[in-house]
Subunit: 303 residues, 2 copies
Amino acid sequence: MKVAVLAGGLGGSRFALALTETLGPGAVTVVGNVGDDLEVAGLHVSPDLDTIVYTLAGVLDAERGWGRAGETWNARAAAEQLGAETWFQLGDRDLGLHLARTEALRRGEPLSAVTARICRALGVETAVLPASDDRLRTWVATPTGELSFQEWFVRRQHRDEVDGFRFEGAEAARAAPGVLQALDGADLIAIAPSNPFVSIGPILAVAEIRAALESRRVPAVAVSPLIAGRAVRGPADRMLARLKGGTSPAQVTDCYKGLIDALVVDEADADEDAGVPAIVTRTLMSDAGARHRLAEAVLAVPV
Amino acid sequence: MKVAVLAGGLGGSRFALALTETLGPGAVTVVGNVGDDLEVAGLHVSPDLDTIVYTLAGVLDAERGWGRAGETWNARAAAEQLGAETWFQLGDRDLGLHLARTEALRRGEPLSAVTARICRALGVETAVLPASDDRLRTWVATPTGELSFQEWFVRRQHRDEVDGFRFEGAEAARAAPGVLQALDGADLIAIAPSNPFVSIGPILAVAEIRAALESRRVPAVAVSPLIAGRAVRGPADRMLARLKGGTSPAQVTDCYKGLIDALVVDEADADEDAGVPAIVTRTLMSDAGARHRLAEAVLAVPV
């Protein structure tokens, strides 16, 4: 059984791990968000892809939820002493990845090829693909004005209310090599419990990917990122409340209108209408057992 | 007494320290080589300026002769694991400086202003100026073909014989703010015991700087980088032998034709003709005492 999964950052990476642990790496293709990519002093940083790769490689700092375990911060301390902006934190080992990726991109290697090389070097056998090799950037409309995704999310700690989004470059962006093949060849398409707006939204903003989901011949299932109407982490609940009028499963489904056939919801949300058939399980991926249970629930969707 | 000193990397930085220790930081302006600047994954690295600044700040790794003391190498290890080119070694703390500088340059801050900020942050009171804020790059002609300076020097360990140089951008480059004022306002112009071709050569390739030296109204003195016809470090002796036909003081002077009034040579070279009045002392800056002795000898040039 082959699964293609659309994924953002931490929730997406844990879900990719859950599927990989349950099905084996050869059965899973992860299509990762690149809308939150940014340049730091010209270095290309792909936070969501990196969280996915680090998670699958077993080197993510699980407590922090981003970056590498056992990280050192000497570059950052030096940059800070010298007056640099350091609100986007880069650990030393993490910087090594950004150096390697940026060098390769500047040589003309596509992001998908760089990502594949990084995976191989870190022993990740699951296929991890960027949604697109083309430039795609999420901008967030707020009462303060339009902010780049990371400025809104990290620098301003997502405290600004969100009025909408712009996915710069999405119109022209092509799906990265392998993405459409993975969606076409999958027995199941899954959408990870990531933020529907800013983690999955940029992926679906790539016309080819949206069209592939719209014309799917296999079931597509999303895992709700909410438990009892609250996001496990991050601002998804506030955004759903403001932009969709509520935080029930139906509002999550509404983000994926026409694109999913079922929604996996937590037991805490079992009584709520989901707008599509609901699969009820415990969705918090607190350990390997919990990950496996969630993966099994997703894979139990009638294919 | 005010001294303006043209300087390259390690020898230049030690000589700048010698003058600073002897005269006080307010009396010394260092004009540093930028011909060996390079981009690593788009990060702007200024090896000579950094060696000077780190030396004056007391944070240079003296044994290695470049980079910061107590450095860590986690970024490099990660980049190497991921297949990046790591022949130009960047320590983690050093990377922090490159991040800060690159960010500032990309904001439009000139290299001279960035360098001044770095100096302030590191407690360096001596004025350290890049020769130019404009792009200036040294290329080395070898039997293998033309190589960028760092590719020749670091990557290929300066094993290729040198047939000549090209200072890309030098024709259009302006002297950085403060450079001409420092040369004009100095009581003495000094050329550090740096490689005449690739450390001092790029500085003198800036037309305004060369003209300022040619029309000087104060004495200019160079310190020979050779002791008994051998470079203390690096390939200056091989280059002098090949390009000037020998490694005696006269060949060093020949590199500075019309630009210096005296040459400081080591006692080991006392008997050789220098082509200009020679000042004989011990030139190896092995410790603070040796640095002070050399500085005093240079400053004893009749002003």
